[in-house]
């Protein structure tokens, strides 16, 4: 019963309302208060990262103890997997908020922006820390509704249309998830994830499980924009203000999409081979199709958004390979290697995709356009943006000293060792195409000759924006340290242990 756990959810929610009340009377209150609160949250989450290790901490909200080892209250669960996500959410949130100090000056209604931003963060923290199925739904709705509003923050016509599309598909996803939760309650008569696992364990009824799994997978797949469900993502992520794009693309689709899928399919459902194969196929499809859709784009943010789909495909694919191996019950070490690659890539993606969206925001802030054809020669006038975006581009396309290389390498090695040669080859090809696409981005944005018609007073963006980008690029380089076994053992191994030993999660929660 660590009393700090609920603070991660309560502080951002309370901060949102304080900003709405106090920010009305005090100018500039929102910015500094937001930074302060996010600094505190980041501190708490890194404290958890250092102290959690392999143990699973349960917080029983309301103090309702289980009766006959059946939980009756809501549980908040903090383990090795969720602590990684908490750190990503709050760290990227802090940097985005710092970046927004100057970026958001062009928009009206700063108070609303910061309040919605905190609701987004609070909702994601709630999803990640929750151990109860319906509670996940409620917090998912908080973060999703605030992201609907943030996507339409500029109230231009394309932003509104993107928000509408996002809301319709998000609404379908929400009701599919709700229906799935109803089904699970009907079958298991309980809502606690660990308890559902033990209630499911006794009976074997394939069709019902398959139906439930498909409902849940399509619901959360829509939130995570896996390929047949991806239609909303490019519009929504490219229309939002850039710090929000960084949050949505870097964190949001992971926290409410991939995290929940992985958590539920490893720790709640019994791992079954058909579902594992389906997940792997979906991941591979998103990896391949996403990158081909990205090649033709000339709008920077759309290009980055399509790459998000593709990179998430890597994560889903490698996690799926791990699932297949686990369901067959063979080669547990390779399964844990594949899952390790997936999680590593998930962390890396948060860093470099966040950075790339911040770069795109900086370019848009200076030039007022997002079209690659209207740019050129920015390397001289914007040195920091150019350098950081170079690091991020090399990272995402897997060039050796940077973090993206190592995670892709682990994924490919795992695929080869598990004898999925086709998937390994596809991963390499997609990586090469990604490189080509980002070379295009670099060349057109930073190194081409500038147009003569453009006025020449292009300056580097203000200090807060530069600062966030530099910090993120340092993180990008530092994250490649995770490849060393000692550091990996401290951070990634607890998460992998929980996922590869499906019974451990439910066992250790129910005895507490």
């Amino acid at each position: 019963m660590n009393p700090l756990i609920p603070l991660l959810v309560v502080i951002p929610l309370a901060a949102a309302f304080l900003i709405m009340i106090v920010g009305r009377f005090i100018e500039e209150f929102n910015k500094y208060f937001a930074l302060l609160v996010l600094l505190l949250l980041t501190f708490i989450s890194f404290y958890f990262l250092c102290t959690t290790g392999g143990k699973i901490t349960v917080y029983k909200v309301g103090g309702w103890e289980p009766i006959n080892s059946i939980p009756i209250g809501i549980y908040m669960v903090l383990d090795g997997f969720s602590v990684i996500l908490v750190c990503i959410i709050n760290l990227i949130g802090l940097l985005s908020a710092f970046y927004s100090i100057s970026y958001i000056r062009r928009y009206t209604a700063g108070n609303y922006f910061y309040a919605l931003f905190f609701l987004l963060i609070g909702g994601m923290n709630g999803v990640v820390l929750s151990g109860d199925l319906f509670n996940i739904f409620v917090f998912l709705e908080i973060s999703v509704i605030s992201s609907y509003a943030l996507v339409a923050f500029g109230v231009e016509s394309n932003e509104l249309e993107a928000s509408f599309k996002y809301q319709v598909l998000g609404g379908i996803a929400s009701f599919l998830i709700l229906f799935g939760i109803g089904f699970i309650y009907w079958k298991a008569k309980t809502l606690n994830i660990a308890d559902i696992k033990s209630a499911f364990g006794s009976s074997s009824d394939k069709t019902t499980y398959l139906f439930i799994q498909i409902l849940i997978l399509s619901g959360f797949g829509l939130k995570a924009a896996i390929i047949p469900f991806h239609a909303w993502l490019p519009d929504a992520h490219s229309s939002a203000p850039s710090p929000i794009s960084a949050m949505l693309s870097g964190v949001f689709i992971k926290a409410v999409g991939i995290y929940v899928i992985v958590r539920l399919f490893f720790n709640m459902f019994i791992i079954s081979e058909p579902m594992a194969i389906l997940i792997t196929i979906l991941g591979t499809l998103s990896m391949v199709i996403g990158v081909f859709l990205a090649i033709g784009q000339w709008d920077i943010k759309r290009l980055l958004a399509y790459h998000s789909i593709s990179q998430m495909g890597y994560v889903v694919m490698s996690v799926g390979i791990g699932m297949i191996l686990l369901s067959r019950g063979v080669k547990a070490d390779i399964a844990s290697l594949a899952i390790c690659g997936g999680l590593f890539h998930l962390i890396n993606h948060a860093a470099f995709k966040g950075l790339l969206f911040l770069n795109a925001g900086a370019i848009e802030y200076t030039l007022g356009t997002r079209n690659l054809k209207g740019m050129g020669g920015l390397a001289k006038s914007m040195p920091f943006t150019s350098a950081t975006s170079f690091i991020a581009s090399m990272s995402i396309s897997g060039i050796p000293p940077f973090n993206g290389f190592f995670s892709k390498l682990i994924i490919i090695i795992a695929a080869v060792m598990a004898k999925f040669y086709l998937l390994a080859i596809l991963a390499v090809i997609v990586s090469i195409i990604t490189l080509a696409s980002f070379l295009k981005f670099q060349r057109y944005a930073f190194y081409n000759k500038a147009d003569d018609t453009k006025d020449q007073n292009i300056k580097e963006v203000p200090f807060p924006m530069v600062f966030s980008m530099v910090i993120l690029s340092v993180i990008c380089v530092l994250l490649s340290l995770l490849v060393f076994p000692e550091i990996r053992h401290a951070i990634l191994t607890p998460a992998i242990d929980i996922l590869t030993d499906p019974a451990k999660y439910s066992r250790s929660i129910l005895v507490q």
Partner: protein
């Protein structure tokens, strides 16, 4: 429904051309034409007076539902929604300018933010006083079936009721205000 239609039509002001255009679609109401000659915003005086009477009763019913939430069907959400319904009824009957609507509807947002913050405060006070457990029902429970019983639940009911009423009313108002503003 009929009231609503008339409200929406009247909302358009006294512009004859607009009203003619309005009347073209399939559904027609006899009362609508008579009202266009009426200078008053909103509906007729009869409707207004009746609404004031009924809305008061609905409001009191909402308060009853909230306060008895732990004894009878209903509770914070039901009662809050009923109160919001009564406020919306008054607004519909009296027309948009009854409330002197301006862009910053600051009052209600503060009420609703404060109510939420109070809910969170009560939750956290459970955290502080009640053996360090978030959302603890730390007050004495009392006797089942009495009005003052069930610890903090009535307090939750009251604050959530306020918050729900304010939120729903504000959603309605902001749509109405937007329609007024963007007409020009």
């Amino acid at each position: 429904m009929r009231r609503l239609l008339r409200f929406a039509r009247n909302d358009k002001g006294n512009n004859e051309a607009l009203i003619k255009k309005r009347n073209q679609p399939t559904l027609k109401f006899r009362l609508a034409k008579r009202e266009t000659t009426n200078d008053m915003k909103g509906m007729t005086i009869i409707v207004k007076k009746t609404t004031q009477l009924i809305a008061g009763m609905i409001f009191i019913y909402g308060v009853y539902v909230i306060v008895h939430g732990h004894l009878t069907p209903g509770g914070g959400f039901a009662g809050g929604v009923v109160i919001a319904g009564s406020l919306i009824l008054i607004t519909l009957a009296n027309g948009g300018d009854f409330l002197k609507l301006i862009k910053e509807e600051s009052g209600t947002t503060i009420v609703e933010s404060l109510a939420t913050i109070l809910v969170i405060t009560i939750a956290v006070s459970g955290f502080l006083f009640g053996t360090k457990i978030f959302f603890n029902n730390f007050l004495p429970k009392g006797i089942v079936g009495h009005l003052i019983s069930a610890g903090v639940l009535p307090l939750y009911n009251i604050f959530v009721g306020t918050e729900v009423a304010a939120s729903i009313f504000i959603i309605f108002l902001s749509l109405v205000i937007f329609k007024e503003e963007s007409k020009e």
